[in-house]
């Protein structure tokens, strides 16, 4: 099959609503969305706390967080694999090769991005915001909430960035998901598999979807950034 034939075939699959193909896309979107939803509350809170309070060990935590940003996805996959495998501490959950395991892995991957970006977002808020809140009668807690709200567009940028990262990662999804057809096979693991089997059409179709999703995420990010910056 030539490249143009494969590309043609890819669009036939996509537009024809091929259930297998769209099932794979759905796994990606579902897993990555749930991963983000699970990671956001704690990650945003952590970033906020690191930006707002000074306490012993804070610097060390920030350095660790920044290091985790560059953590290879296969390392997260490896660690989770060991933790979730039958002999591992969480072996009883029977999560290995399930979507739950992928969600957990992607949540772990998203956490440092979300936390680190929230940290700089909150640090970026004008010092006068908290003072203004307080002088208008806000309690400490209310003033903090106001500051977080002032950073909301930058936090949304963080969420979009995190979503982009987990959507396109493969190492962790492959290791703890296992690329099981109809269960844990997502866009990236499917592309890897189909390509190695020499079936390019589905790979191209999925690749196109991934690029479109990445574009959508970046447009969203751009929109939020624009909102946040033009003050």
């Amino acid at each position: 099959m030539t490249l143009s034939e494969a590309t043609h075939q890819a669009f036939v699959l996509l537009l024809g609503g091929d259930p297998k193909l769209w099932g794979i896309i759905w796994v990606s979107i579902r897993v990555s969305t749930l991963a983000l939803i699970s990671a956001v509350p704690l990650a945003v809170l952590s970033g906020f706390v690191l930006a707002t309070f000074t306490f012993p060990g804070r610097r060390a935590l920030v350095v660790i967080l920044q290091t985790l940003l560059a953590l290879p996805t296969v390392i997260v996959g490896l660690v989770l694999y060991m933790v979730l495998s039958r002999q591992g501490p969480l072996g009883e959950w029977h999560w290995l090769f399930t979507q739950e395991a992928m969600i957990l892995g992607q949540a772990v991957l998203a956490f440092p991005i979300l936390a680190a970006m929230t940290l700089s977002a909150v640090q970026g808020v004008d010092k006068r915001a908290a003072e203004t809140a307080k002088t208008l009668g806000a309690s400490r807690l209310q003033a903090m909430w106001t500051v977080l709200l002032e950073a909301r567009f930058a936090v949304l940028v963080a969420i979009a960035t995190g979503f982009g990262r987990v959507l396109s990662e493969i190492g962790c999804a492959m290791m703890v998901g296992g690329n099981i057809a109809g269960v844990t096979r997502n866009i990236t693991t499917a592309i890897a598999l189909e390509t190695s089997k020499g079936e390019f059409a589905q790979g191209i179709a999925l690749g196109a979807v991934l690029v479109v999703l990445a574009l959508a995420v970046n447009f969203a990010m751009n929109f939020f950034q624009g909102k946040g910056l033009t003050r």
Binding site: R128, E131, T135, L136, E150
Partner: protein
């Protein structure tokens, strides 16, 4: 008459430099004060200390006869004592939300809040800007929003830090007029400025800050 705000023996240093060294200062209700002084003389620092946004190195403070010696005690006077920044900060919402901010904190119900905000918009002459976000406001408009946002909370002591800095003549005139209308028999307004035009505010008491001391 019992002063609304009094301080004694205020000391404040930045490093080696003794910035403020004020033996006594009393502010009375019904008065407007102009805190005059050169750049860097410590006007902002004095107002921020009064508002509890900064700690003093020493001194006794009283608000309406009550001792408020620590910065936390003074900060707790908000929003009965409000400090408006030199370049006032507006929350990234819109004009009406900004003016309603303190009312919302107080738990005032929505309909009542909206009525109070509407009245304030009229007072400041910015009704047409009701739903506009702060990044689309001019410097003078921002200043008027900040003043309305403070005024709606009816503070007994209002600290305005250079409210007319960086405004053009027309905007300055409007802000000066608003300041003149801020005062009533029960409250006290103190304005840090080196703007000569603010001297037009009728019956303002001039305080000159020089070498850390206040000259009446």
């Amino acid at each position: 008459m019992k002063p609304i705000f009094a301080l004694q023996n205020l000391r404040k240093s930045h490093g080696e430099r003794l910035l403020l060294n004020i033996d006594k200062l009393e502010l009375q209700r019904g008065n407007t004060y102009l805190l005059l002084g050169e750049n860097g003389v410590g006007k902002t620092t004095l107002l921020r200390i009064m508002a509890g946004l900064e700690a003093a190195d020493g001194g006794q403070f009283q608000f309406d006869g009550q001792f408020v010696n620590s910065d936390t005690e003074r900060a707790a006077l908000a929003p009965n004592l409000i400090y408006v920044h030199q370049h006032s900060y507006l929350f990234y919402t819109n004009v009406a939300e900004n003016i309603g901010y303190g009312l919302k904190l107080r738990g005032i119900p929505k309909t009542e809040r909206e009525a109070l905000v509407a009245a304030e918009l009229v007072w400041a002459g910015i009704t047409h800007l009701r739903d506009v976000p702060p990044n689309q406001l001019s410097g003078g408009e921002k200043q008027r929003v900040a003043m309305a946002r403070a005024r709606v909370l009816k503070p007994e002591l209002l600290l305005l830090d250079e409210p007319t800095a960086n405004l053009d003549d027309a905007a300055r005139e409007q802000v000066v007029e608003l300041i003149a209308h801020m005062r009533d028999a029960n409250n006290c307004v103190i304005i840090a400025t080196h703007d000569k035009e603010l001297a037009e505010i009728p019956d303002a008491v001039k305080l000159k800050l020089e070498e850390g001391r206040v000259q009446g």
